[in-house]
């Protein structure tokens, strides 16, 4: 039981994100750029491994298992490999550059001032670019936040470690990895709004989340103009016969309407 009233059935940081979607939005945004963006010379697996290692050092059960499961998936390894990294990464068959970065992440976890210039030099000599060092420090710092957020509010988590592995890999196998990997808050705020008329059939916690997370927003100007032009064309061609176009008037009006609905439901469109 968490110390505050979070929706039931959402473990770890997910319950907190549903409690306060306004802050969750930016925490997710940061994690998305830092951990998942493919425009990065560190692989997703390496970045998730840093996150897992830092969460292990902070001894945050949810953090190290949720991200350990993802790291395991990307690195195509087993849980023992991840556990051995936690126990002694220096003895493991990973690149020397990654070892140097893990050592920097470890220092950051103890405190920003614990990072020594020699560690940075070592990493650079082993081929680490400045951006990789930057991202390592920020990933470590980000998890120092998330771990504390999760543990400081006493959230609950599934104690079965295999659960965190399965939820990543079984999703992949069924080809619905995106549905599992993107967190529930994101899913609910993007998809559930369209199911509003069917709220009665949804589980209670999802209704609470949907209500808390769905904030309609103004569409952007380009989309709005496109939608209005298509919609107007639809109406005009219904009354004024235009060759080829008139038979599609209903479809055009429908497209305009759908574009506007999407534009208001999704935050950045």
């Amino acid at each position: 039981m968490a110390y505050i009233n979070v929706p039931e059935g959402l473990p770890g940081i997910r319950g907190l994100m549903a409690f306060r979607p306004e802050t969750a939005h930016y925490i997710n945004g940061l994690a998305e750029v830092l951990l998942r963006d493919d425009d990065n010379t560190l692989s997703r697996g390496e970045r998730e491994l840093i996150a897992t290692y830092v969460s292990h050092l902070t001894d945050c059960f949810f953090g190290q298992n949720a991200h350990g499961g993802i790291a395991q998936h990307y690195l195509q390894c087993d849980m023992e490999f991840i556990d051995n990294i936690k126990a002694d990464y220096a003895a493991m068959p990973i690149s020397d550059k990654l070892k140097a970065l893990l050592s920097i992440a470890e220092s950051v976890q103890r405190g920003g001032k614990a990072v020594r210039p020699e560690q940075i030099d070592t990493a650079k000599n082993l081929g680490a670019m400045e951006k990789e060092i930057h991202d390592t420090v920020l990933i470590s710092a980000l998890f120092c936040m998330c771990n504390r957020y999760v543990d400081g509010l006493g959230t609950s988590a599934n104690p079965d470690r295999q659960f965190y592995v399965d939820r990543v890999s079984c999703g992949r196998k069924r080809g619905i990895c995106i549905l599992i990997r993107i967190n529930k808050r994101f899913l609910v705020s993007r998809c559930i709004p369209f199911a509003m008329p069917f709220y009665c059939i949804l589980p209670k916690n999802q209704i609470i989340m949907a209500k808390k997370t769905f904030l309609p927003s103004a569409p952007n100007l380009t989309l709005w103009i496109i939608a209005v032009i298509i919609g107007m064309l639809g109406i005009l061609t219904h009354f004024v016969a235009v060759d080829q176009l008139s038979k599609y008037s209903y479809e055009m009006l429908l497209i305009g309407f759908v574009l506007l609905v999407i534009g208001t439901a999704y935050r950045k469109i």
């Binding site: 306004e22 920097i104 405190g111 920003g112 951006k131 420090v137 710092a141 006493g154």
Partner: protein
């Protein structure tokens, strides 16, 4: 000397945001919503928690700048900020803020030590779920910001006037990411 090539003359987190704006943007937006958006805690109280946690983390840049922002927001009672940073238990603040600062201190040191008793004490002083949530997240967020700023060895001004100006800007304008000059 910073550990990576940062722009000269730009201190603390601002140099990091200029270095990597796509992570800097959500960081600043998080600070803005956490420290300025609606909350049962006033912006001054939230800056106070930020300054206290940053002082515990010994991050000079963050503790000085957020203390300056708190002083700006406390207006006539700006000395409260220094009394809290010296010893919050004897400072002229409400029992609720004292209980919340104690939770923030535990989150900073080791979040697993925050107990039901700590939360119950805060509640008995009138703290709501949101007070507790915001306190924990502010403390946690500054454990991130402090490590980010110090872990990359960013420059830290030593002139108190520099922080006073930062405090005024943070107190009046909020958190606006710096742009490349």
């Amino acid at each position: 000397m910073a550990h990576i090539s940062l722009q000269d003359g730009v201190p603390g987190i601002r140099s990091l945001v200029l270095y990597r704006p796509d992570t800097g943007k959500p960081l600043y937006e998080l600070a803005q919503v956490l420290l300025r958006a609606d909350s049962p805690l006033s912006p001054g109280e939230r800056e106070l928690i930020a300054a206290y946690v940053s002082a515990q983390n010994e991050c000079v840049f963050c503790s000085c700048s957020h203390a300056a922002a708190a002083r700006y927001l406390y207006q006539d009672e700006e000395q409260t900020v220094d009394l809290v940073l010296a010893d919050y238990q004897s400072a002229p603040i409400s029992d609720k803020i004292k209980a919340l600062l104690s939770i923030a201190g535990k989150v900073q040191a080791d979040a697993r030590t925050v107990s039901e008793a700590d939360v119950a004490l805060a509640r008995s002083c009138g703290a709501s779920d949101r007070d507790i949530h915001d306190t924990v997240l502010i403390a946690a967020a500054f454990c991130m910001f402090n490590r980010y700023v110090d872990g990359l060895g960013t420059s830290t001004p030593s002139d108190p006037d520099a922080y006073r100006l930062m405090g005024e800007r943070m107190g009046s304008l909020g958190y606006v990411p710096p742009v490349q000059p």
